[in-house]
């Protein structure tokens, strides 16, 4: 707790100069935009600096990799946007942090996104994109950045780890129960050791490599993408060299926007969730392609005046040839309300359910622990370039002997 107080004290100290430097950051923004060839080529460099801190109970929830009670996770993100003529757009995102997901690792840099988009016609009906970029599935991606996300962590479907491992194939239901920490219950700390092996339904924004076709036709929009790995796959395999192209994942989304106030969408995805190194653990007669993740998602968005609301529900099925289909459903309801021009509050309810398998005695046993989590967080924008968010999360898992899980997090962001 002492460490957290120190960190929030630092936030307060940083806020002062950052607020005073608002006009300076406007000039930085202007100076990082340049053009050539009579504006035919325009380039903008921008970024965010996030100072993130967590106070949590062990085991650390979701995609947070720390065995301590506190974690400081700074992140510098740099964005490059280049408009070449009217039809070509290039963008990239590079980050320096302690890991793609918050963790205890050392500072390192990565190129998280790079993409080339070609729009042959001005009406936006057809766009082609290749590179390494966020998935087109769902409606969370447009706000997953620290500045636009009302919260610090991702919703449950994008972060809650399941009993599916991507480095090994489960051969029996007992093995699946063990991996899901359902039976037997792990010793204290055991869950943390297993954590690095598990995958969620969708891993964050899923910056996998591939190609996409998308566009808008009237009130409808569509998107189809082929990526090198499934939605559940971890960041380590998102890169072009992270996996081979013999088992691509296919994702699609169809959206309907009757007016700017409402948006609706359905998404679907299929892809092999195992990494190539799992080959030696497969059941005889089966290949990696037999271990597939199928995802069907529905999303809704609403915005009017100072209120915004989003909801998504995902039904996922992991096929395990010798066990059966491991099914799970996760959803969340998220709202944001601006209370003043600078102060907002956000509330999110998340829940995930798991299907059952028969154990050796014929008893139906869930292959994961049903979980609910409530996230609440105020945010304050000091200037158009600086923002402080605080998030408190309360999580409960069924069949869990421990008390409720608590997490308190703070994030100070400077945008330039």
């Amino acid at each position: 707790m002492k460490r957290l107080r120190v960190i929030f004290g630092c936030y307060a100290l940083l806020a002062g100069p950052a607020v005073a430097g608002g006009d300076f950051l406007d000039r930085v923004d202007d100076s990082l935009t340049t053009s050539a060839l009579h504006d035919a080529v325009r380039l903008r460099l921008s970024g965010t600096l996030d100072l993130e801190a967590y106070q949590l109970r062990q085991p650390a929830p979701s995609l947070i990799y720390s065995d301590g009670s506190g974690l400081f996770s700074p992140r510098l993100s740099l964005f490059l946007d280049v408009q070449i003529g009217a039809h070509v757009y290039v963008y990239a995102q590079a980050r320096a942090d302690r890991g793609f997901d918050p963790g205890d690792g050392g500072l390192r840099g990565r190129l998280d996104e790079y993409a080339l988009r070609y729009t042959p016609v001005d009406n936006g009906r057809l766009n082609f994109q290749v590179g390494k970029f966020a998935t087109i599935v769902g409606n969370w991606m447009p706000r997953h950045g620290s500045w636009d996300n009302p919260f610090i962590t991702a919703p449950l479907p994008y972060s809650n780890l399941t009993g599916i491992w991507d480095a090994m194939a489960a051969r029996t239901t007992d093995q699946l129960f063990l991996w899901a920490s359902v039976r037997p219950r792990p010793a204290q700390g055991g869950e943390y050791l297993d954590k690095a092996l598990s995958v969620p339904i969708i891993w964050g924004p899923s910056y996998a490599t591939g190609a996409a076709v998308f566009g808008e036709i009237g009130r409808f929009d569509y998107a189809v993408e082929m990526k090198n790995v499934a939605l559940a796959s971890r960041p380590a395999v998102w890169d072009l060299d992270g996996s081979r192209w013999d088992r691509p994942a296919w994702n699609g989304r169809l959206g309907y926007r009757p007016n700017p106030m409402w948006s609706f969408g359905v998404s679907a995805s299929t892809g092999s969730y195992l990494r190539p190194l799992a080959q030696r653990t497969l059941a005889p007669g089966h290949g990696l392609d037999d271990y597939r993740e199928f995802v069907f998602g529905q999303d809704i968005g609403f915005a009017w005046h100072h209120t915004q609301f989003w909801a998504e529900v995902y039904e996922a099925r992991f096929t395990i040839p010798t066990v059966g289909d491991a099914r799970t459903v996760a959803y969340y309801l998220e709202g944001k309300q601006k209370l003043t021009p600078q102060l907002f509050i956000a509330l999110r309810w998340n829940e995930q359910f798991f299907s059952t398998f028969r154990d050796r005695t014929g008893t139906a046993v869930r292959w994961g622990r049903d979980v609910w989590r409530i996230d609440i967080g105020p945010g304050y924008r000091f200037t158009p370039h600086t923002q402080l968010k605080v998030q408190y999360s309360l999580q409960h898992e069924d069949a869990d002997a421990r008390e409720l899980g608590h997490m308190l997090a703070g994030q100070f962001t400077v945008r330039f």
Partner: protein
């Protein structure tokens, strides 16, 4: 939809005293700062069909007559529109007490806000067909930076002045400020948020056009 309305409103107000009070005028040229590059629209997670390619907005200055003037009997009205993911105009001078409307002519949401000390507000997200058109009364002199919470490249300025006598230069820096009351005044030129050219004294007489340059 009438994008010329803001300009007409400002011109109409500026011209009004010419018929009622005076015929003096001042003209000249302001040396403008260098042109900035056109903004780049962030399309990373959006399909942007219109407004994806923006034109460069040349720097403009506002020339105004300094002094103490009585407030307008009827609050003036002006507009800053949102069209093709840009504010039109990008620089709007208004007199203190002016109500500025913010019509949205795009088929997508905008969310105009300002954290400027002279006026802090957030209009939220409103549909283009909502009535009345969202508006704000600017009741304190100063510079107000408009932004859009959805489209980070969108930026515009409203310069709230305690005088009804002002004009925006053309792209070459030339201006003509007419309909002024005769007398001894000072004329100032606002160039950007950090720069206002030093005031110049001017002796205004009926039927005479004074000349003041701001190098």
């Amino acid at each position: 939809m009438n994008l010329l309305r803001p300009a007409r409103l400002v011109l109409a107000w500026s011209a009004l005293p010419a018929f009622v009070f005076a015929q003096a005028a001042v003209e000249g040229r302001v040396t403008l700062p260098a042109t900035r590059a056109a903004p780049v629209v962030n399309k990373r997670y959006e399909i942007v069909t219109k407004g994806g390619v923006l034109s460069t907005n040349p720097p403009l200055a506002v020339v105004y007559l300094e002094g103490t003037f009585s407030p307008p009997p009827v609050p003036p009205l002006a507009q800053v529109a949102q069209k093709d993911l840009a504010f039109i105009p990008t620089l709007l001078p208004v007199q203190v007490g002016t109500r500025v409307e913010f019509p949205n002519f795009d088929d997508t949401y905008h969310n105009i806000f300002s954290f400027s000390p002279a006026k802090r507000f957030d209009l939220g997200r409103y549909r283009s067909d909502e009535k009345p058109v969202p508006s704000v009364v600017f009741d304190e002199a100063g510079l107000v930076t408009l932004r859009c919470d959805i489209h980070e490249h969108m930026r515009a300025l409203i310069l709230v002045l305690p005088t009804p006598y002002f004009v925006v230069t053309d792209a070459d820096g030339r201006y003509r400020l007419g309909g002024l009351p005769p007398g001894r005044y000072t004329v100032a030129a606002w160039l950007d948020s950090k720069t206002t050219a030093p005031s110049r004294p001017v002796d205004l007489q009926n039927g005479v056009t004074a000349h003041v340059d701001f190098p």
